[in-house]
């Protein structure tokens, strides 16, 4: 299944296509996405997460077409 991801700074974006979508196995969680992005556990603790515009936890199970946003308190703009 495919999800759209807005990754935080300093992550490995190689799993994302040009439009920032990524293929993940059925049943994957937000935490699994962070692992694919190679986001360090320490950095992950500083992130706020939303799925489809709603606050979510790392154990949130994703579905096809979901939009996953990560917001860091230290960010670019």
């Amino acid at each position: 299944m495919r999800v759209k991801v807005f990754p935080p700074h300093g992550c490995d974006r190689s799993a994302l296509d040009a439009k920032s979508w990524m293929e993940i196995p059925e049943g994957s969680t937000v935490g699994d996405v962070l692992k694919i992005l190679k986001c360090s556990p320490l950095k992950a603790k500083l992130l706020l997460v939303s799925v489809n515009g709603e606050r979510a936890k790392f154990k949130h199970v994703l579905h096809d077409g979901d939009v996953v946003g990560f917001f860091s308190l230290v960010t670019g703009g």
Binding site: K19, L48, S50, G53, R55, V67, V68, G69, L73, G77
Partner: protein
């Protein structure tokens, strides 16, 4: 279009007549309603060369296509006219409850031409329109006049009012049109056009139903959006630290962000959430666009404008029509020592920045007072702030003397002088009279043109083009130049337009250096940004809905459900391109030459700033604008839409209707 009435009201104030005109459905198919309908109507009906302050100019009040359908965040009303400030296309929009009131009278828009001999107001209800004497309202500020008009016309339904204050009555070229106690459609000098027609107000008391093709489908979309917005959250205590976040933002490349996250900030603090961020990140212009944060002690200034301070005096929050977000609020300003008023609207970021950091003013309470003064007078705070900052810089550099300023000590940070000058500008008194028409005309009289920040005659919004070169393209290429509500890079990063439009480039990580080049991808990005913005304006949707992104605010699904259509994103983006092209054709018809519109050198980084996040940045704005025009199918040298583009967009046929 099943979500529009198919009719507009045409009023001639010279003859005192009002007639209803039917609009062909093909027009709505081509340009929707709102700004699109306004562009089509004004292009057809204002003769070339018309005096913006003369009888041939048409002032239009338009509602959005989605207004009243049950669509959330679609209650913006847009004023359109030929701008007396720029000589070209003019528009301004505002929230509140006036947009549905237009439709409830049975119209999608009200177009007003001619000039009345004496002050009048237009009254409309289900029975039709009347032009009424406004002698007893002329001279009142916008809040006083609105309250009195509501009281005097409240036999049935409470009427909704759009009204000018003293600035509009005095035909200040930087005046706007107010509603809801001083909320203002501020830009393009629309208030001056209304004042020139001796039209004090438009009072609407209709109660007709507003159409929608599939209300259940719209309701389902709104239910989903409302649930998400109501579950929004923010980290507690973030407000005080936003300035620190700005330091990070100013020094790191910018990532595309999930647009839904912007909603947290607006819901908690409204647009003042951006002020500390803007001061430290390079987004907000400082000291009349001349300084970096360090030179004005930016971090401390960011604490002076901590949005938590505003929340502490917030009496209540409010929502625009059909908006679950509610970024507005009423503030208790009874504690502000020099204020004769007890409350004001929560100021927008633009006002805070323009009279705060732009003038190196550390006293936020003075800006709250200025906010109320300007709202009541109906004067554009962006234009007025840029004009005051110019006057201060001229005074500090000896271009203006104390005799010329009527004794005002116009120094950086002297908020008492800021207040006194604004009062003079509103009253068109002494030195203020010369500044009441904006910075371009003031600098032509007194000198200091190098300090006069305007684009094509209009003062720029409070976002620094050196921080966002993409915005710099739009500040120039937008048919109503100098606007900040179209084309920001951070906005593009949040919208995910590539997921609804086949030709819109994906948002990428961008840095100021990367964004300086004139590439085709950059131009396609700026085109997509403009087309989506026009689409949202045609629908009547809010800028903050736009920023939520296409996955959260489903504008395409909303439009299809409300209109009974089944079009894809590419089709809607073509509507956006059509609206933008007609607006530019309007400019060309009226002799406004796009190629002569330039960013002030300071805004291009010529010379570049020596400190701060914008240090060393110099734009290639002219090359980028040329590329933007090219991908729009406009002549890359002149900015005129090419005949083949006009034909391909079906505009020739549209103008025969």
């Amino acid at each position: 279009m099943k979500c529009c009435t198919g009719k507009v009201l045409r009023v001639d104030l010279t003859t005192g007549t009002a007639t209803v005109e039917k609009i062909p459905d093909e027009v709505y198919e081509a340009v929707l309603s709102g700004k699109g309908l306004g562009a089509w109507y004004l292009y057809k009906n204002i003769p070339a060369g018309a005096d913006p302050l003369g009888p041939d100019n048409i002032l239009g009040f338009t509602s959005g296509a989605l207004t009243g359908t049950g669509t959330f965040m679609a209650g913006r009303w847009t004023v359109v006219c030929k701008s007396p400030l720029t000589g070209g296309w003019g528009d301004a929009n505002c929230g509140g409850v006036f947009s549905p009131a237009i439709k409830q009278c049975g119209y999608d828009a009200i177009f007003i031409s001619g000039i009345s001999e004496k002050p009048v107001y237009l009254y409309c209800d289900n029975k039709g329109a009347q032009i009424r004497d406004a002698s007893e309202y002329w001279g009142l500020d916008a809040v006083e006049a609105e309250n009195k008009l509501i009281a005097d016309n409240s036999g049935g339904k409470i009427p909704r009012v759009a009204v000018i204050g003293q600035a509009g009555e005095n035909v200040s070229l930087i005046s706007g049109i107010c509603n809801e106690g001083g909320r203002i459609a501020a830009r393009s000098g629309v208030g001056a056009v209304m004042g020139s027609k001796k039209l004090k107000a438009v009072v609407l008391a209709g109660s007709r139903p507003m159409p929608c093709a599939d209300p259940d489908a719209v309701k389902a979309l709104s239910k989903e959006l409302g649930r998400k917005i109501n579950k929004m959250w923010i980290p507690k205590g973030l407000g005080g630290g936003i300035g620190f976040m700005g330091i990070g933002m100013g020094n790191m490349p910018a990532l595309p962000l999930d647009g839904s996250m912007t909603t947290y900030l607006f819901r908690e603090w409204g647009t003042p959430s951006n002020t500390p961020l803007a001061i430290t990140s390079g987004d907000g212009p400082l000291k009349n666009w001349s300084a970096g944060p360090k030179e004005v002690n930016g971090l401390r200034l960011s604490f002076d404008y901590n949005p938590e301070k505003i929340n502490k005096i917030e009496e209540s929050k409010y929502h625009c029509y059909s908006c679950p977000l509610g970024c507005g609020g009423r503030l208790d300003i009874s504690g502000v020592p020099y204020s004769e008023y007890y409350e004001t609207h929560k100021p927008e970021y633009e006002t805070l920045q323009a009279f705060g950091p732009l003038c190196v003013n550390r006293d936020m309470s003075s800006v709250l007072y200025l906010n109320e003064l300007l709202n009541r007078a109906g004067m554009d705070s962006i234009s007025a702030g840029n004009t005051v900052a110019w006057a201060i810089e001229c005074y500090e550099n000896g271009i203006l003397t104390k005799e010329q300023t009527d004794g005002l000590e116009l120094k950086w940070g002297n908020w008492d002088a800021e207040i006194a000058l604004i009062k003079k500008m509103i009253a068109r008194e002494g030195f203020g009279n010369d500044l009441a028409d904006g910075v371009k005309r003031a600098s032509e009289k007194y000198g200091g043109k190098e300090y006069a920040m305007h684009v094509g005659g209009q003062e720029p919004g409070m976002h620094d083009t050196r921080n966002d070169p993409q915005l710099g393209i739009h500040m120039v290429a937008e048919p109503a130049p100098g606007k900040h509500t179209i084309g920001m890079a951070i906005q593009y990063g949040a919208m995910s337009l590539c997921d609804i439009c086949s030709w819109a480039p994906p948002a990428t990580i961008h840095s100021k250096k990367n964004d300086l080049e004139a590439t085709e991808e950059m131009a396609l990005t700026s085109k997509a940004n403009a087309c989506y913005s026009m689409l949202m304006d045609g629908l009547g949707s809010c800028y903050y809905a736009e920023m939520m992104g296409v996955h959260m605010y489903k504008a395409i699904e909303y439009a299809n459900a409300a209109a009974g259509w089944d079009y894809d994103g590419d089709h809607y983006m073509e509507i956006g391109a059509r609206i933008q092209t007609i607006r530019q054709m309007f400019n060309v018809k009226h002799g406004y030459e796009p190629s002569k519109v330039k960013l002030p050198k300071r805004m291009q980084g010529m010379p570049p700033l020596k400190t701060g996040p914008l240090k060393g940045v110099t734009l290639k704005n002219e090359e980028q604008v040329a590329m933007h025009w090219k991908v729009f199918g406009w002549d890359e040298k002149t900015g005129h839409p090419l005949p083949e583009t006009i034909e391909a967009l079906g505009i020739n046929r549209l103008m025969e209707m």
